[in-house]
């Protein structure tokens, strides 16, 4: 025999919602079926009887409207044989007369007594319980006492809880008066109506109906029912919420779903959440719109806040229970500036637990004109239930977000590697291109010298000087290339010594004046020496590069100014030209590798486009900055600033 407490297995044809509810019914239940058609009647009674047979209960059906034959035919459902049950006496379908209920007067006590006897008989015959159902029209044929039907039904509510029995009273709505049906509804804790098994909040306990002061009892019941209704409303809300939460892919979707329900159930318009980090040092604030979103949100409704120092967040991080701030304007825990900006009034924070771990909180409350609005006990319970629904979803989305972020990082890393690879290959192209020019000079000057020697002509000494100069140019290119590679790998080290910047600049300028005697180069400097800790070779390299550029990009008559300035904190060296200038959007690009302003500019002159990138690297290694100020048609000022670690004596 099956375990009588376990629900029977649902097989065809029992798959409807009502079938599933009926399958869960156990002994001690007293319910009524209110029907209008025979189809409705048997949709409930057939599974009711079958589940009883499956559990080894004695099943009794008292007919009145239908004949026994009809009922037996209805019970003969495909796959569920009743022959054996009929033979063994487990199933009985009787008329009222056969059940000895056919007397002239309706009396409740004898009827209950006969039910009690039947239960004892069932137990005695080895059945687990008595499952009875009756077509209650049988009482309508009685001559007297029908008005006491309600009393009988009320008394059944004393009977069933104490006996191994359950009963389904069938009432044809077309046959009973509205007044009677009202009483029937009041006397059954569960009602089956239009295919649904309903938990009946109109149910009145027998104590009340049979009490000498029914009004007092009824008021109490009404109040209980009222709170039951609220419970039911809350339950339905949480069901809706969990359906939406299952589909939520982002924090905002989850929060919007919760906010919509809070609006319906409590009336608060806004909802937010805090997710605590493992060490409870930070809280990730999630906001679904509203005044908070406008104030604190950085992007996509997510912001990271530091908990320490924020009394409200500190309390939330430690709270195991709901935290209610009745009026944020006066409560000492709130930051009044934030409250004033956002307009908080009542604040409610409900902790969220995932597997007993405190992972954060859900926040809601009233704002501005809504005034102070403290949640009731039932509302607080609702919010706690909501928080536990949210826990799993927020955790799932957290994992989802983390995974997406990791994926995005991978994609970005790949793109950056590809970009670097493409830069490298472009770099090689440019390097090869640039090396061709000095090689051309070498090649044709040597070829010419050979031809001249063959003809017995002398070779000019200047030819050899030029070859030497070109060799230098080549070696500069190679040095630049090496510098870039070493700067990118971060292996350039400075050899800093105390250096007089004025002397360094003067020496550098002398070299340029020899090289370009026609150019006018002015040096503006302070009276005092400027001494600071630098790598003089590297700083000379930077200055030479800036000067080289200034000469290269301006025409011969255009003067160049080098200016050295000193403040207590900084030394600034500027190279000022009056050339064509550089457009704003190209200025920042100049200090990146392999770029040289516009393509126009790129094509105009030779060079690897590495100089300024190398300069930036050197200056930054010194803890300084390098930059350009330029205006098209007026000229450019390239400058670098070095921090004064050593003040001049």
């Amino acid at each position: 025999m099956r375990d009588p407490t376990s629900a029977p297995t649902l097989g065809a044809p029992y798959q409807s919602l009502l079938d599933r509810e009926l399958a869960k019914l156990t002994v001690h239940h007293h319910l009524c079926l209110l029907y209008e058609t025979q189809e409705e009647q048997f949709d409930a009674t057939t599974p009711f009887m079958h589940f009883g047979l499956e559990r080894g209960e004695k099943c009794l059906y008292v007919v009145d409207e239908n004949t026994s034959a009809t009922v037996l035919q209805k019970l003969q459902v495909k796959g569920h044989s009743i022959e054996k049950a009929l033979r063994s006496g487990q199933l009985e379908v009787l008329t009222a007369k056969e059940a000895h209920l056919k007397e002239g007067y309706f009396k409740s006590d004898p009827m209950i007594a006969s039910l009690e006897n039947a239960t004892s008989a069932a137990k005695g015959a080895g059945f687990t319980a008595l499952r009875a159902t009756g077509e209650m029209t049988l009482v309508l044929s009685k001559e007297k006492g029908v008005e006491r039907l309600a009393e009988y039904e009320a008394k059944l509510n004393f009977f069933f809880p104490h006996h191994s029995a359950l009963g389904l009273c069938q009432y044809n709505l077309k046959r009973f008066s509205a007044k009677m049906i009202k009483q029937i509804i009041q006397t059954h804790p569960f009602v089956i109506f239009r295919g649904a098994l309903l938990n009946n909040f109109y149910y009145a306990p027998p104590m009340e109906l049979l009490s000498p002061e029914p009004d007092q009892q009824e008021v109490r019941r009404m109040l209980t029912n009222l709170s039951d209704r609220v419970q039911q409303r809350n339950t339905q809300s949480l069901l809706r919420l969990s359906r939406r939460l299952e589909r939520a892919q982002t924090y905002i979707e989850a929060l919007n779903a919760a906010r919509d329900e809070v609006r319906i159930i409590i009336g608060y318009q806004n909802l937010w959440a805090y997710l605590l980090t493992e060490d409870k040092r930070y809280a990730k604030a999630l906001v679904a719109g509203g005044p908070m979103a406008k104030t604190v949100m950085a992007e996509e409704g997510v912001a990271t806040l530091t908990i320490r120092g924020d009394r409200m967040l500190e309390e939330i991080a430690e709270a195991k229970d709901i935290v209610v701030v009745e009026d944020a304007r006066t409560d000492e825990r709130t930051d009044k500036k934030i409250v004033a900006r956002m307009g908080n009034r009542t604040i409610v924070n409900v902790p969220i637990f995932l597997m007993e771990k405190h992972i954060g909180s859900i926040g809601t409350g009233s704002f501005g004109d809504e005034g102070v609005r403290v949640p009731t006990q039932s509302e607080q319970e609702y919010l706690s239930a909501m928080a536990s629904h949210m826990a799993v979803t927020l955790d799932r989305i957290h994992l989802l977000t983390e995974r997406k972020r990791a994926e995005a990082e991978l994609v970005a890393a790949k793109e950056s590697a590809e970009k670097a690879a493409s830069l490298k290959s472009r770099f090689l192209d440019i390097a090869a291109h640039e090396l061709r020019t000095p090689i051309t000079v070498f090649s044709i000057m040597l070829e010419l010298a050979q031809k001249q020697l063959k003809k017995g002509q002398p070779i000019d000494i200047s030819t050899l000087d030029r070859l030497q100069w070109q060799a230098k140019r080549l070696s500069h290119l190679v040095v630049d290339l090496l510098d870039v590679s070493r700067l990118e790998r971060g292996v350039v080290t400075l050899h800093q010594i105390r250096t007089n910047m004025i002397l360094l600049i003067s020496a550098c300028l002398e070299g340029f004046i020899v090289q370009a005697p026609k150019r006018s180069i002015i040096f503006t400097k302070p009276q005092q020496p400027i001494e600071l800790n630098i790598d003089p070779v590297r700083i000379n390299q930077v200055l030479s590069n800036l000067l080289d550029n200034a000469l290269k990009y301006t025409s011969e008559g255009s003067p160049i100014e080098v200016r050295a300035e000193s403040s207590p904190d900084l030394v600034r060296v500027s190279v000022i030209d009056h050339g064509v200038g550089i457009k704003k959007d190209q200025q920042a690009e100049l200090f990146k590798p392999f770029t040289r302003g516009s393509s126009d500019r790129e094509e105009r002159t030779s060079g690897l486009g590495l100089g300024l990138f190398v300069c930036r690297g050197i200056i930054e290694l010194h803890g300084g900055t390098i930059g350009v100020v330029s205006e098209a048609g007026v000229g450019s000022t390239f400058y670098f600033e070095l921090p004064r670690k050593v003040i001049e004596s």
């Binding site: 291109h433 061709r436 020019t437 051309t440 000079v441 090649s443 044709i444 990009y553 105009r604 030779s606």
Partner: protein, 124 residues
Amino acid sequence: MSESSAKTILVVEDDKDISITLKIFLEGEGYQVLLAENGSIALDLIQKHGMPNLILLDMKMPIMNGWQFAIEFISRHDHNTSIVVMTAAADAEQRAKDISAIGWVGKPFALDDLLAKVKKYERK
């Protein structure tokens, strides 16, 4: 050989070592050679001395580069003077096509190869 009968070659090149070497070499081969260190000076020289028999044109130069020169030159003059592009670019042939030049030499080049191109493309 009189000055007037010598064919003129205009070398437009900002690298002085290259242009002076070409001048010495081509003059040794009997050409009259004019040097311009950018496109703008080249246009002035054409204005002053008339049309050369061939222009050897570098592309990357300050002030006015090879492209700008070619656009300006074609707009000002009948296109009956040959331009030969000298470039270090990997796609020298394409550069030449870009400006409708008749020929190209890729840097680095040998003087004898350059002379062969000059003889092939010079305006008779």
